[in-house]
């Protein structure tokens, strides 16, 4: 997990490859989380497209957008979905998009109601 986070943060922030301790990695990830939304809109846009392309054939977006999960939990969900046949072209961008929009630091949404079906 730490390896994946480090790789992501390095690739997105352009930091040097000398990061060696977990504390520094954690700091890099935090910095990246703060700056990604403003700095890397292109990644988030790519992630949103990937969501529509690889998730929607099997289930509606509500299933995703009602979740509030930590990055590590989103990684596990993507692993599960890959195992269930989802082919993700831009998986890293999808992960960034999910964490940025539906991370566990975001307020919990109130679900909609269906209309009367009687």
């Amino acid at each position: 997990m730490c390896t994946r986070m480090a790789v992501l943060s390095l690739s997105l922030t352009g930091a040097g490859l000398t990061v060696s301790t977990q504390a520094v990695i954690a700091q890099a990830v935090t910095t990246q989380a703060v700056t990604t939304r403003a700095a890397d809109q292109a990644t988030l846009d790519l992630g949103r497209k990937e969501e529509a392309r690889s998730c929607v054939p099997c289930h509606s977006l509500r299933l995703i957008q009602s979740q509030r999960l930590a990055r590590a939990t989103w990684v596990k969900e993507l692993d599960k979905m890959a195992g269930w046949g989802s082919v993700m072209k831009d998986r890293d961008a999808l992960l960034e998009y999910l964490v940025a929009n539906y991370g566990n630091d975001k307020p919990v949404p109130v679900p909609d109601m269906t209309r009367n079906g009687k």
């Binding site: 969501e51 529509a52 392309r53 929607v56 054939p57 099997c58 289930h59 509606s60 977006l61 509500r62 299933l63 957008q65 009602s66 979740q67 509030r68 999960l69 930590a70 939990t73 596990k76 969900e77 195992g83 269930w84 046949g85 989802s86 566990n104 919990v108 679900p111 909609d112 109601m113 269906t114 209309r115 009367n116 079906g117 009687k118």
Partner: protein, 379 residues
Amino acid sequence: MFAALLAAAAARPIQGADDGIIVGGKRPMILHNDRPEDLETPLRYFDSWVTPNDAFFVRQHLPRPAAIEPAAYRLTINGMVSKPAQLALADLLKLPQHTVPATLECTGNGRGFYTPKVPGIQWGRGAVGNAEWSGPRLSDVLKLAGVDSKAAFVEIDGADTGVAATPDFVRSMPMPKAMHPATLLALKMNGQSPDIHGFPARLIVPGWDGTSWVKWVIRLTAAAEESKGFFMNPGYRYPKFSLPPGSPPKPAELEVIEGMPVKSSLTSPEDQSKIALGGSQPPTVIRGFAWAGENAIERVEVSTDGGSRWGDAQLSSQKLPFAWRLFTLNWTPADPGYYTIMSRATDAAGRVQPIVPAWNPSGYLWNGIDRVGVTVEKT
């Protein structure tokens, strides 16, 4: 092309109720997911012992199967049996029909209350309902095929299938529970067609978690061992030993969920609602329901002061295993202010609802003492 259309349709941003999600036969329900349907019952519908079909929650793992034509329906019984069978609906109707009142609860009901958050439908209190289920006993159905006495499990498959490589929804049940006289293959739900709840035949496993109650049953296989599919392992397992909140599961220490814990839910007054204070006001009726898996409910206590003092609530008279009991307590607050109302159930085996339910990685079996907050105002 079809996939692209589907993508375009489902990629619309989530909007209010006007975006037109309608589920046939259902009143307005709390919408957790529309494809497949995951619908929660709003608390205001829980005003009767039997939950009406049009208000009953819906949990689908997989898309609903194509409508099953009653004349074309066949139930396959195979595996460790002496007479493999293909039964028609008429064969099931020829068997003695029984009715069992039982509370059906989604294993993840209350998942939204766990901290830290876990993935899955973020159910509140309403993924539960109580119905009268009717049909032949599963034991009578299995006897038609002559089940081998060495078969320790029945594997149950529904007509629904997974999209792409999503695993099929297949469950296993130990033979003693399958042969229990209250375990039914229900053809009716509250005297009506089960429709979205598994027409034409739905397994009823009283006292066990909702995942065991397979819908649209088309195959029963007698087997020596438990099914190894995803929905038996790792799906729907619970840690044998409690874990620190937020920690990963230990696969070797996960167990299949069977019976359910003791639990109560407050249905009225609504959380964060306002109540008028005044001498001529009728008392506020605190209401809810309590259930305890395979046990009957013995007692429900209610507190209106955040759990400092507790009083016994009045219980509905039918004290049954498998089915919930309604509770009420009349309350006339003396002063204005903010009150925390709580409910705590005890079952016939002496189990009591905990203050803090054990966090678990899949968010199953939430059964914490329930609580709502109300503001009492001078009129």
